[in-house]
């Protein structure tokens, strides 16, 4: 079977999940030389509704454009985390912000305080998505840091180049510290 690396960013409108999906897709597809498909699903409202962006990365052309089983889930709300819980690969990783998602589902969890790191590095809560991308650049085997930086800079609004860079660094540094511990702590199943 063709190897596919499948990612979902999920949260509510305004949290930057679609932008995160686009940057990851560009990092892997344009700068990293992989095949990518990025799709979105969202409700009718621009702000506040359920929103998710999904990225499939592969070394071969991609047929089915949606994830089949997730390698990586980045939930920005508790609900987004619950919804995707059954969709993870056995060794899939949930990269979550413990300040946003307190109840962790079964599976491998990488706990990264995305929002706190974003505020510390840039002073902006909205940069949590970029911090997550920084972490992903160290965790996902198909994208490297340089590609992620290029892609993020390409999408950064004028005047925010440096903030994007600092956010990526903050996420990357934190992921580096915990990378040695992969697989991360496995959350206890409800029966345990």
């Amino acid at each position: 079977m063709t190897a596919r690396y499948e990612v979902r960013f999920s949260g509510t409108g305004g949290q930057g999940v679609v932008l995160a999906g686009i940057i990851l897709a560009e990092a892997a597809g344009l700068h990293g030389g992989q095949y990518v498909v990025q799709t979105v699903s969202y409700g009718p409202q621009v702000r506040g509704g359920m929103s998710s962006a999904e990225v499939v990365i592969s070394e071969r052309p991609i047929d089915y454009p949606k994830p089949i089983r997730l390698d990586l889930l980045v939930p920005f709300t508790q609900e987004a985390c619950h919804q995707a819980a059954g969709l993870m690969k056995e060794d899939g990783i949930i990269l979550l912000d413990p300040d946003l998602v307190s109840e962790t589902p079964e599976g491998w969890v990488a706990s990264v305080p995305l929002t706190r790191l974003a505020v510390e590095a840039t002073g902006r809560v909205q940069m949590a998505n970029i911090v997550a991308l920084g972490a992903i650049s160290r965790l996902c085997p198909l994208v490297d840091e340089a590609s992620m930086l290029d892609a993020a800079k390409g999408r950064a609004p004028k005047g925010l180049f440096e903030a994007f860079e600092r956010a990526l660094e903050a996420g990357g540094r934190f992921a580096e510290e915990i990378r040695g511990k992969i697989p991360f702590e496995k959350a206890p199943t409800p029966e345990d």
Binding site: L30, Y35, V36, Y42, G43
Partner: protein, 383 residues
């Protein structure tokens, strides 16, 4: 069946953007439209791009007006298009009929979302397949194309313009929300590599020009307003000079020619692809984004030794009868997955005429059909 070029290309692009780029490459210089999810990106890109190439973008008061303006621009010589989704497509039916009757080239893009009515504005569906064929009133032929990838959104938009110019007919590009909003890395051809066809214009002296005269090809040369060929254009049934008529000996030949110009050129108009069909016993017949789920299903079925293949329809209307007939000898089962309750599957059944079992896999829950949902319909498949 090739998914795309050998090397992943250097541009990440949305299906809707690729459609807009295809329009520019095909020579489209006029767009009139009305905002509607999930097609609005096409308008947004063209509002930026068209004025830069000397073209015109205009946002009209509704979809009826949009297609009216597009037809007007086409009569004045511009290649023109509009884009919409279900509710707007319903409003456009009036002028799709006008464009058929008056034989005005134009391209109508419908990025399908869930319906009926306002339905599911942000979620995908394939519920407008029969509407694209029969939505406007009266007998009429129509050409409908369906892309499955971002690159194909570009290619088929170009092709839609070429066919509409060649056959003087509206061409509908039936996309769906998945394809329209999906981003893939694509490499678009250089503008000079894109094959572009233009309408045939009259070359006779204006006083000899008979605007709707039959020709061996079936498509009369098209006079352009302001270029010296003054004639009458009407939605009334008309004689060869364009004037309204009630004469039986003028009505029937007109209607016959309208159909003949399309039916006599099915080889040129119809396109389909097959994947692993050589030894297939079961075939999936699919189109649009669902064909990608189907391709995945075929790959997975082959891995466990099931002899499955895929027939992907690119031209949806006129229905590719020949394509379905060509697989009937080898396949006893045809699986037709659709994001509707069986709109193409009824065509497949009509062609199969009992020679193969046709199973419809319908999903109308506002998301793309999963490969496993198609495989569940396959005999011998164990998840």
């Amino acid at each position: 069946m090739k998914m795309r070029a050998e090397e992943p290309a250097k541009k990440l692009m949305q299906g809707n953007e690729a459609c807009a780029e295809g329009a520019i490459a095909a020579g489209c210089r006029f767009y009139a439209g009305y905002p509607i999810t999930p097609s609005s990106e096409i308008a947004e890109v063209l509002s930026y791009r068209l004025p830069a190439v000397g073209g015109t973008f205009i946002q009209m008061e509704d979809e009826i007006a949009s297609l009216g303006a597009v037809i007007g621009a086409s009569l004045a010589g511009a290649k023109a298009m509009t884009a919409t989704s279900g509710p707007g497509f319903s409003l456009m039916q009036e002028h799709i009929g006008f464009a058929c009757m008056a034989e005005v080239p134009c391209v109508v893009v419908n990025v399908m979302r869930g319906g009926p009515s306002t339905g599911l504005p942000t979620l995908p569906a394939q519920g407008d397949v029969q509407q694209a064929r029969w939505g406007t009133h009266g007998d009429h032929p129509i050409i409908v194309l369906t892309p499955w990838s971002v690159r194909e959104c570009f290619d088929l938009t170009v092709r839609a313009f070429n066919l509409s110019e060649k056959y003087r007919t509206p061409v509908i590009l039936l996309m769906d929300e998945v394809v329209g909003h999906m981003r893939e890395n694509v490499e678009l051809p250089n503008p000079e590599e894109v094959e572009v066809l233009d309408r045939v214009k009259p070359t006779v002296p204006p006083e000899w020009y008979i605007p709707y005269e039959d020709t061996p090809f079936g498509v009369p040369p098209m006079g352009i307003f302001g270029e010296g060929y003054r004639y009458h254009v009407t939605g009334l049934l008309h004689d060869v000079r364009g004037f309204p008529t009630l004469r039986e000996d003028e009505i029937e030949p007109f209607m016959r020619r309208l159909f003949r110009k399309i039916w006599a050129h099915l080889n040129d108009i119809q396109q389909w692809e097959t994947y692993l069909m050589e030894d297939a016993e079961t075939a999936i017949v699919a189109y649009g984004s669902v064909a990608r789920s189907a391709m995945r299903a075929v790959v997975e079925a082959r891995e466990v030794g099931l002899r499955m293949g895929l027939l992907r329809l690119i031209t949806l209307w006129p229905f590719c009868r020949k394509a379905v007939e060509s697989i009937l000898d080898g396949c006893k089962t045809l699986i037709v997955p659709e994001m509707n309750l069986g709109q193409i599957s009824r065509e497949v059944k009509r062609v199969a005429q009992g020679r193969a079992q046709v199973r419809t896999v319908s999903r109308v829950l506002g998301r793309l059909i999963k490969p496993e949902e198609i495989l569940e319909a396959v005999e011998g498949w164990k998840a």
